[in-house]
Assembly symmetry: none
Homo-oligomer: 226 residues x 2
DNA sequence: TTGCCGTATGACAAAACTGTGACAACGATA
DNA sequence: TATCGTTGTCACAGTTTTGTCATACGGCAA
């Protein structure tokens, strides 16, 4: 599993460090910036999974950053949690209006913030992950780790599931054995490329009537039918 | 196929040699430097395809080099893999923030590093290479590995596909048998130049009505019609 | 028109690929 | 500890793909 990255845009260094420390402890990767314009730039180039955005910032205030993020094609979908100091509450309406997903009033409970972050990320991941994971009657529920063919459950082992998921996510594209080994087995795997074949066979057997969604591209690799 | 060049900026000579040796074995050309400022200079003048950058360097540290690379107009797009020693992990965030594409913590697995390099390079090449691969009714979808003539699918073998792709990418230009053997078969291929002829015949047969897009330039080679 | 040289063709055997069944190693679980 | 499910390897067989060769063909210049 790839670590999710959270961008912290906050000018108070103490808070920034506190947040970074706690987020890292929770297993997230963090990026941070103490300045609005800079933070916006990082968001655009690194595309974090979530942004913690302070309202009061030097250079460019949080609302403007929010508005800009919302406008950018590849940042519009990133969830934002606004951090506001007491007394700025009036603005929260505007913030939410502008696309923030949630807000926290300082001083806030770190624990609560962590929980909200986890929830929001889960929602977003699910939404993104579930979107295209069904095709030609084969569908995967990545969260529940359940697979089905024409609405009939089938049992897949962990590896089979990851393999099918990878193929499905790249439906229509040929995936070479090397790519599959890297993505599904991981870089550490030092094995026989033909291992992939065996797993394809097992997958096909389990997919049964739907086995033809897995196409062999001779001399290249495998492809989930477009 | 032109060799890709990788710049190694690392002060420990043993590691530098180890990396250079392995990279060359993988078919890359290498440049190296044991000093930050010097490495930066080489990067600017030679424009390598990828940079391996150690964090701890004499003279100018890795982060500064990274920042400078990011700033330079003709170095900003070069992917960077940071090499960090254990315990420097805190900095990786900054590194990623500054534009590194990936990082490895020492001691790292050379094999894994090679795989990551391959993947990153592939991503970068793909992004640049995907273009209008269609002409005179012949179109290729390199991702899906599908070919069609006048919107009708045709089956090509792996070699035929690569050959047609190469000709198409150089549409309008004559390609000699030697060039085709180098690009399509690989520069290590020591075979009969007439092999190309046979494959051209097979391609023409499969292209059917569109066979005339493949022109023979007597005494020189072949050309995809402009 | 003839002869030369490069190219197209058809046939073929070698090489390369993929699908399969079997199996041992491993780990989890009862 | 015994058992069961999962995984990675391997050897083998059936096919397809590929490289080579011998031969026929065709453009071009003399």
């Amino acid at each position: 599993m790839i670590k999710q990255t959270i961008l912290i845009i906050e000018d108070e260094e103490d808070i920034r460090k506190l947040l970074a420390y706690n987020l890292q402890k929770e297993g997230y990767a963090t990026l941070d910036s103490g300045d609005g314009a800079d933070g916006l730039h990082i968001a655009r180039s690194k595309q974090p999974d979530l942004i913690l955005l302070d309202l009061m910032l030097p250079g460019m205030d949080g609302l403007s950053v929010c508005r800009e993020l919302e406008r950018g094609k590849n940042t519009a979908a990133i969830p934002i949690i606004m951090l506001t100091a007491k007394g700025e509450e009036l603005d929260r309406v505007v913030g939410l209006e502008l696309g923030a997903d949630d807000y926290m009033v300082k001083p806030f409970s770190v624990r609560e913030l962590m929980l909200r972050i986890r929830n929001i990320l889960k929602r977003h991941v699910q939404a993104a992950a579930r979107a295209h994971l069904a095709r030609h009657g084969v569908s995967l529920d990545t969260e529940a780790h359940k697979a089905s063919v024409e609405n009939a459950r089938i049992d897949l082992t962990a590896t089979e599931f990851r393999l099918l998921e990878n193929l499905l996510r790249h439906a229509g594209q040929v995936r070479t054995r090397e790519q599959l080994l890297d993505d599904v087995w991981g870089y550490h795997f030092e094995g026989y490329a033909r291992t992939v074949d065996t797993h394809m066979r097992r997958l096909r057997a389990k997919l049964d009537q739907a086995a033809d969604v897995l196409e062999t591209v001779r001399g290249v690799g495998y492809r989930f039918k477009e």
